[in-house]
Symmetry: C2
Subunit: 438 residues, 2 copies
């Protein structure tokens, strides 16, 4: 019987994360302190983030960073996640391509986000922090941080983008089951929120705004740190457990990917899967393609500008050197809330500027069409975000069908879509429209 | 590092199901044809069910039944499911007990139901059937059959209990993603539905009523067979893949369960996990306890009568020798829709009458309290049905704490609760009340 799923033993779960910055010839440009406009220091960052995460953020020299044993023990609750050969999808497409996906949807909270949430909560706990705050779009990250906070005995407060808070009530419920205090953003609980609501009372919220609110709460609250679910280099670092596992599992399958694909919001599942494979490109041993699938309505990679910009709406964060649509860009209300972000992480931005990464723009309807095909073929209903990666995979698999070339494609199933069924309803009813980028 | 999860290799997934009837000293009494009142034959049953399932239903002699290779291949999409040592729950309870759970929630559709749906859809396809119909409560079974039908190229029509159809719209959406035609029951599309709506226009539906509708549709439609998600012996047979895997996995963990626990609706996840272990009781080698956790508001095992009754509201099915609250019993609208059924499967009923099985009645609020504790400790939000098994497990673990006895407890996490978050909302808001049995 052909093997469908590949697992690692628990003692084979990576003991270290991979820091791609150590291998980059051109390091990312420095982040700048928004006040002094000088390169941020660990001290600057640790006003907001845990000290260890702040150090990791600026660490451009250590290739391997140890995963704390306490975090690794919690990883065993769901890791290794399966590497799956998508026989069903291959057959549905009639492609000679070998398609694999790394199934991060099996995590307790339904997405890859937990990989970093556990690390961030652990470091906070270790450093004597009592409260964590964050923002969340679709709710995947907020759920992960709520659970991770519960695991390590911290209080958590989550600002959820209002449109998602209303569209996806089940995610709010999940966060509440894990003990989080959840507030729709923009809210009246922060100055940043009040300012926006005063100008635009019907503001539907955005990740940029919610970040401003969470950052403000962290700054104003003793014993409280802020945690971010993507964009930052330390978040992507934690996510490299995905790619490091996948590399071992592909070896079990006797293959190496020609093309690696992931959806792209801030870049954490993308970098998490891709960077461990990219290290073999950087060392000249491999020539793998890496494709970032972003929403056509929020196309920072293909239509954004590379330059310094804030990570949030209000301008509280450091200035980041990144591909951006502008920190005041208001993304369309697509269902893939996790991809509604104006900028790309600094590492991915640098690599994109050097041509190491390709980007594909996916319309919302193409994403859901791909998601439904995948659900029928593989049984798993993907998150709207992951649908973008699937759509890009289908495009590549179609090229293989045309050329007869049996390439090996690996993509990240970053999460499941069980909490997003109302979006599928809309798609199946023919009521989904595409919002073009302006 | 202590091991948390145990998996089998794909070639270790059982190649046969276990038929406990072959080992029972007292076979279940025969089911009776509702018209002739004579013992039903394979011919009788195959008017409704596929021929192979009809044969399996009445097979009391073959201990092992081969799993078709086509079904086993589809099992690899999600099996083996993990056996998990619940370290988190043990620590939260401070119990010396070793608690394990078999995590069936990782299946594509979120529950154990797929184990039988794949088998039933496969046999139908092989026998030239084109359409399958069934009923569903919470939607777990309907989703499984919808997906299994898609896998084997059949059309599916599902009658969903109206209260669940309205309470859990996401399950309906899932069924629709898999191509099923979903109708809330009672409906005007069948005589059985019309009769009930004429008498009670606001009827909220029940499994018994939905079964009547699906059975009627199957009888009236050429090329259409009916499939049932529990109660019948062939369904439980297919579910024994759970217990057979668990047995091997417990061996990997170096343990054997003193107590095995599962929730009980019709008995399929219960029998599926328990019967493979019970065979060692029947052969005199072991003395394991088996506990069926049922809702206090639908207590057929503790307060029902053992005798002949119909499986459905309208009286279309064979008469089954079972513990029953009466086929016209209207279960309370608890969230555990899968446990809202008036009768117990014939095998479990026979074993209960002989004292081989214990039963525990769990109130709805106790179930959800247990579910929240489990979610915090293990990260997985359980289905309302599974919460009953967890509550019973917690009771047993508390006894161990009191006695200091480190017993090994194994329970079935039959499904996840991500589609049931509105029930958790109600519980967390303090708005859940217990409905007493009348």
């Amino acid at each position: 019987m052909r093997q469908k799923r590949f697992f690692l033993q628990e003692n084979e779960i990576p003991a270290q994360w991979y820091n791609i910055m150590a291998d980059m010839k051109n390091k990312p440009m420095p982040m700048l302190n928004p006040v002094t406009r000088k390169a941020v220091t660990v001290e600057d960052l640790s006003q907001l983030f845990s000290e260890e995460c702040s150090r990791q953020e600026l660490n451009t020299t250590d290739r391997w960073i140890d995963i704390p044993e306490e975090v690794r023990e919690k990883y065993t609750y769901y890791r290794s996640t399966p590497l799956v050969r998508a026989y069903g999808l291959e057959e549905a497409l009639g492609t000679p391509a070998h398609i694999y996906f790394k199934n991060e949807s099996v995590s307790p909270v339904g997405s890859h986000k937990l990989n970093s949430a556990l690390a961030q909560a652990y470091y906070c706990k270790k450093e004597g922090v009592t409260n964590i705050t964050t923002e969340t779009g679709a709710g995947q990250w907020g759920t992960a941080l709520a659970y991770a906070s519960k695991v390590f005995g911290l209080e958590s407060a989550v600002y959820q983008v209002k449109i998602s808070y209303e569209q996806k009530p089940y995610r709010r419920s999940m966060m509440q089951v894990f003990g989080a205090l959840v507030t729709p953003s923009p809210s009246m609980s922060t100055r940043a929120g009040k300012d926006i609501l005063t100008k635009m009372p019907n503001h539907q919220g955005s990740l940029g705004t919610a970040i401003s609110e969470a950052v403000e709460l962290a700054k104003m609250t003793p014993g409280c740190k802020y945690a971010l679910g993507s964009v930052m280099s330390h978040v992507t670092l934690h996510q490299t457990v995905i790619g490091l596992e996948a590399e071992k599992q592909m070896e079990m399958a006797g293959e190496y990917p020609d093309t690696v694909i992931a959806c792209f919001g801030g870049g954490s599942n993308f970098g998490g899967l891709c960077f461990p494979f990219m290290r073999h490109n950087l060392s000249g041993k491999r020539d793998t393609r890496f494709i970032a699938a972003e929403p056509a309505s929020c196309p920072k990679l293909t239509k954004g500008k590379f330059g310094y910009d804030f990570g949030d709406e209000a301008g509280y964060t450091p200035l980041l050197p990144m591909f951006t649509l502008g920190h005041d860009f208001m993304p369309a209300n697509i269902h893939a809330g996790g991809l509604r972000y104006h900028g790309a992480g600094v590492i991915a931005s640098q690599l994109l500027s050097e041509g190491m990464i390709e980007a594909a723009d996916i319309t919302q309807t193409d994403a859901f069409k791909a998601g439904c095909l995948f659900a029928e073929a593989e049984g798993i209903i993907p998150a709207p975000e992951s649908c973008h990666a699937i759509a890009a995979t289908i495009t590549e698999a179609a090229k293989c069908k045309e050329s007869g070339d049996a390439k090996t494609i690996l993509f990240c199933l970053s999460g499941h879509g069980l909490i997003d069924m109302s979006a599928y309803d809309q798609f199946l009813a023919g009521n989904m429209t595409d919002i073009s980028f302006k």
